[in-house]
Each structure stands twice: as C-alpha cells, then as structure tokens.
Symmetry: C2
Subunit: 217 residues, 2 copies
DNA sequence: ACCTGAACACCGTTCAAGT
DNA sequence: ACCTGAACACCGTTCAAGT
C-alpha cells in the first residue's frame, strides 16, 4: 500500500495523492474501490497513533471512556476531511477494531449488557465524530459564521420565542468544544446506565420506557 | 428570493439551481454568500413543513421531544445533501428558531435548568442530524458497504477482540434507524435528567459528577 | 449599477489504448 | 495482464466585460 502523507491537514483527494505518487489518478483504483474506502483506511492509519490499551488499575471505566473519546475526537477534529468521512462510513482496519473492543470492555465494566453496550459504542462514537466534524468545519471558516448564528438568535421575537430570548445565544455557543464533549459523554453514560435495549426487539414501547430510576419530575 | 425546487431528492448545487433558473451560476451570488448559506436557507424552508406547535395536553414533554426529533431526522434523512449540510452549519431562519424554542420548552418542562437545556438542545439535534446523515449516505450506496462492515467485524481475532467476537456484528447493525434513534433519545433524556451543567464552568470536575441518582453498579 | 458569460482551479471515476 | 493518459461529467467561486 502506498505511502500516505501523514502531515497534510489539507483535504486528501484522489488526484492530490496520485500527484504525490507521480501517477495519474486512475492508478489508485487498483488499490482502492473509491474515495470512501481511501478515507476509511486513512482513519485506521491515524488510529494507530492512539493509546488503546487499558492497563492502569487506577483509571475507572468511566474515565477510560472519557479519555478514549476525547482522543478520538481530537484526532478527527484536526483533519476536517477525516471527520466528515467518519460520519458517513464505518472505518475499517485493525485499530478501529481495537477501539471498538476497548469501549465495549469499559461499558461492560460499567454494568451494561451486550446489546446495550453495542448500541452504546455506536452512539458514543457518533457523538464524538459529529462534534469533531462540526468543530473542524467551523475552524476552517474562521468562526465568522458564529457571529451569524448569534445574529439569527438575536432576531428572535420575544413573543414567539420567549425561552430563546431569555436563554441568550451563549447557551448554544458557550464553553470549549472539549468541555462540551466531556459533558455530552457524561450525559450519555448516565443515560445508558438506565436505558437498556428492549429484550423483545419487535415491541415498539421503547419510547416510554423510563429506565429503572425516576427522580426529577 | 428565488424559487427553490422542493422535490429534488438530488443534491442541490449552485450550478443546478442556476440552470433551473435559466442563468449562469454567478448570478446566485447576488442572493447568497456561498453554498453553505444556500443550504442553511434550504433547511429552514423544509422545516416549514413540520408541525412545531405543542397544543395537545395529552402529549407529554418526553413524547413531544421524541416526535420532533423523529420528524426532523426523517426530513433530513430523505435529503442527503441537507443532512450533510446541517451537521456543519447552524441552519438559519424563523422555522429553525421555532424548533429550538419547542425543544427548549419541552426540556424545561422535564425539569432542566436553562444552561442544561440549551446544551441539551444542541446535543439532541446533533445526534438526530448525525444519524440522518449516516442513514442518507448508506441509502444511496445501496447498503453494499454494510456487508463490508460485517466482513471487517468478522475478521476480528478472538484473542485480541473477545468481546467483539462474542457480541457479533448484529450488535452494531441491528434494528431500524427509527428504532435506534428513539432509543438514543431515551438515553439522552434519561441522562440529561441527571447531568446538569456545572454551575462554575471553570472547575474541571464535570467528568466524575455522577448525577444525583446512582443505581446499577 | 446591476447582472452574468466565461474562465479558473479544482473534483471522482471510467475506459480505451499503450506497455 | 497490468497500468495509466486522457477524457467525461461534474463542482464552487471569481471577475472582467457587457447591458
């Protein structure tokens, strides 16, 4: 398999890679079926740089999930094209399997049954990927459209959107991406501990299953 | 503002729209700054078709959140380009504000404070958007890469990835998108009810704040 | 002043023709 | 048999020239 530019924070295209390899773009299709597959392979390659072991007995399962997702999100956030690609395709390769296995183990340790843990891994990775994609996109546009968002929110009519006006734009924009991410992971874990996948998958009453513990409201 | 093809499930490009309007692509830049802005406006236009009121006293706040996000996800899932765009840009326009207001109100009713509700709206919409984007992408590729995912998972080494092998590929692929979505929303709501945004935003102990109620484990 | 044809600098993918 | 130059069918954006 060809050498791939590790550094380029720039978007990796078929043509750019081909140029880098001193050939025409057609040659790449010998190794790869389409650009999606190229990206999937590339993600796995970057994943190789992550620490996906879990030896430290002082680190709780919850902390391990946090650290893993933070690393993963950060990896994707610095490479806009990759984040974009990871949302659409399942990455493939050995390191991605390591990532899945690690998360599965941590969630198991937290007490989740296998079906719940499987879906949970999917959901956790989806959230991490989505926020990385958003972050990467905004970084490249120089955060100029953040002002635009605030303008839109500012145009809210107090009659029609009272809560929106009361809350103010900072509710949506406040906090660093990392902080927001960590909070989201906490929300997810706390929710997962109380929302199992229905045993009988065909009954459609999952909607109102409230979990085992009902406090607030 | 120009008339926009409502129907086209096809990707809306500057050039296609211009052709539809019998002009060159350059003309569009009088009304719109770039393609991102075009998509943001388009999303709002589609949002107009959604029911964003909340009159029915028989419908609980939880149910209303479910219905809203299901509608929103379905709207985006049928238009791949829109789902993709919604991940990267904040949509803009009056109907999007209606959507935010509705969710904010429902979450308030569920007992969330304003800062938590704000972040929660962001998170809920992100999850709905991300799964719609994934769904839309897979639908257009004819689900042929799902077989690829199962092949990757099948190649897992029982020594290195015991839990992955034990769980089997169905853990990640099982269930309809709608069902998976509904489950995700339940997880989020259950988690949100127990994970408030830290009052002092600078302390970094959000990680281990376990919520108010600890059952399981 | 307002609009836009044509050009610029790119894409991913295919396929016939070369070695 | 294997590889690839060149072509195909597109993109978003800009800008000089026309009305």
């Amino acid at each position: 398999m060809a050498v791939i530019d590790q550094e380029g924070a720039e978007k990796l295209t078929m043509r750019r890679l081909a140029h880098h390899l001193d050939t025409g773009p057609a040659s790449l299709y010998v190794y790869v079926r389409n650009i999606t597959e190229l990206n999937a392979l590339l993600i796995d390659r970057h994943l190789a740089g992550l620490d996906l072991r879990w030896d430290d007995p002082d680190e709780s399962a919850r902390q391990r999930v946090h650290r893993t997702l933070e690393d993963y999100a950060q990896l994707l956030a610095s490479r806009p094209a990759l984040a974009q690609a990871a949302l659409i395709t399942w990455p493939q390769g050995p390191h991605y399997l390591d990532l899945l296995e690690l998360l599965l183990r941590a969630l198991h340790d937290l007490g989740l049954d296998t079906p719940t843990a499987g879906r949970a891994v999917d959901l956790l990775l989806q959230v991490a990927t989505a926020s990385a994609a958003e972050q990467a996109a905004h970084a490249s546009v120089n955060a100029q459209d953040l002002a635009e968002l605030e303008a839109t929110l500012g145009s809210a009519d107090p009659e029609r959107h009272p809560l929106l006006v009361e809350a103010g734009p900072s509710v949506f924009t406040g906090g660093s991406p990392a902080e927001r991410n960590a909070w989201a992971v906490d929300v997810l874990i706390n929710g997962l501990l109380r929302t199992h996948v229905a045993a009988a998958p065909l009954t459609d009453d999952t909607h109102d299953t409230d979990g085992t513990c009902s406090v607030g409201r």
